[in-house]
C-alpha cells in the first residue's frame, strides 16, 4: 500500500509584509519547520521582500494576497489556495493585520471608526472563522492575535484602535475556552511602542521617557514571543494576553 504523504504544515501571518508581521514571518522561519504563508493586501513588493528574508534564513514560504476586511475574498482566496495545496494544513494563524486612524474622538469620522474596527476585529473573524473548522478536525492549532497595549489600558487619540484591540482580546479569551479541548490554543500579544512604520510618526525621543525600559521595542522582540506561542512548547497557555512593552503597562 502506498504510504500517505505527510501534510506540509503552514503558518499564516496576516499583514505579514511589513513591520511586526514581517518580523514574525522571519522568526517563525528561523525557529520552526512551518512554511510561511505571508498575507498582504496591497504592497506586493514588501511581501516579496519578506519572502526573500524567510528564504534567506533557510525557511520556505509563499505570498497570498487578500484583504482581511473582505470576507468573500478571504474565503475565495483561501479556498483556492487549499485546492492548489491539497496536502497542506494551516496549523498556525497569526492575526496581525491592523491599521490606525488616530484622532480625537470628538472629531473622529465614522469611516475612521469603521475601518479600524473592520481590519482588526472583523479581519480576525473572517480569517479565523474560515480556517478553524480544519483546525478542529485536525485537533491541533495555534491562533495568535496581535493586539496592543491600547486594547488593555486605552490610548487617547486611539478610541477606535483601542476598541478594536480590546474586542479582539475578549474574543481571544472566549474562543480559547471553546476550542481548548481540541489542542487549539488562542492567545493575544499586546505590544507597546515598537519601532515600525506604524509608529514612524511618533516622537520617540519624548515618548521613551514614559517607558521604564527607556526605548521603543524592536519588531523582532515581539516576534520571539509569537514564535514561542506558535510552537508546541506553549501547549498549556491559552486565553492569555502577553504584554511586551518595556514595562509601560502590565
Amino acid at each position: 500500500m502506498e504510504e500517505k504523504k505527510a501534510p506540509t504544515k503552514y503558518a499564516l501571518v496576516t499583514g505579514g509584509s511589513r513591520g511586526i508581521g514581517s518580523a514574525v514571518c522571519v522568526q517563525l522561519a528561523k525557529d520552526t519547520k512551518y512554511h510561511i504563508l505571508i498575507n498582504y493586501n496591497s504592497n506586493e513588493a514588501a511581501a516579496q521582500k519578506t519572502l526573500k528574508e524567510v528564504e534567506s534564513v533557510g525557511g520556505a514560504g509563499e505570498i497570498i494576497q487578500f484583504d482581511v476586511v473582505n470576507a468573500a475574498e478571504v474565503i475565495s482566496k483561501l479556498d483556492a489556495w487549499h485546492v492548489e495545496h491539497k496536502d497542506a494544513i494551516i496549523e498556525v494563524i497569526v492575526n496581525n493585520a491592523g491599521i490606525t486612524k488616530d484622532g480625537l474622538f470628538m472629531w473622529m469620522k465614522p469611516e475612521d471608526w469603521t475601518n479600524v474596527i473592520n481590519t482588526s476585529l472583523n479581519g480576525f473573524f473572517n480569517v479565523t472563522n474560515h480556517l478553524i473548522q480544519k483546525m478542529l478536525v485536525n485537533r491541533y492549532g495555534r491562533i495568535i492575535n496581535m493586539v496592543s497595549v491600547s486594547g488593555l489600558k486605552g490610548t487617547p487619540g486611539q478610541t477606535n484602535y483601542s476598541a478594536a484591540k480590546g474586542a479582539v482580546i475578549a474574543a481571544t479569551k472566549a474562543l480559547a475556552q471553546e476550542v481548548a479541548k481540541r489542542n487549539i490554543t488562542v492567545n493575544a500579544v499586546a505590544p507597546g511602542f515598537i519601532r515600525t512604520d506604524m509608529t514612524g510618526d511618533l516622537d520617540e525621543k519624548e515618548l521613551k521617557k514614559l517607558i521604564p525600559a527607556n526605548r521603543f521595542g524592536e519588531a523582532e522582540e515581539v516576534a520571539h514571543i509569537v514564535s514561542f506561542l506558535a510552537s508546541e512548547k506553549s501547549s498549556y497557555i491559552t486565553g492569555e494576553v502577553i504584554n511586551i512593552n518595556g514595562g509601560i503597562y502590565s
Binding site: 473548522q133 478542529l136 478536525v137 471553546e178 476550542v179 479541548k181 481540541r182
Partner: protein, 80 residues
Amino acid sequence: MNKEVIVEKINYFLVDEFEVEEEEIAPQANLKETLELDSLDFVDLVVAIEANFGVKLVGEDFLKVITLQDFYDLIEKKIG
C-alpha cells in the same frame, strides 16, 4: 441515492469512524447521546457527511435533529 443506501452509509461511518456499537444504532436512538458528541464534535460529523455525500452541513441544520432518523431525513433532504 435511495434512502436505504443513505442509512447504510451513515451507519457504516458511525461504526467505523465514531466507534458507535452496532447494536446501539436504531432510528429512534438519540444522535447526540448515542455518539457521545459534545458541541465541538459536530465538526467531525459535518466532515464525514461531506466526504460521504458531498454536501456541506451548517450549524442550523442540526437544530431539529434529535434522533438518528432525523439525521437520515436531513441528509436525504440535503442530497435532494
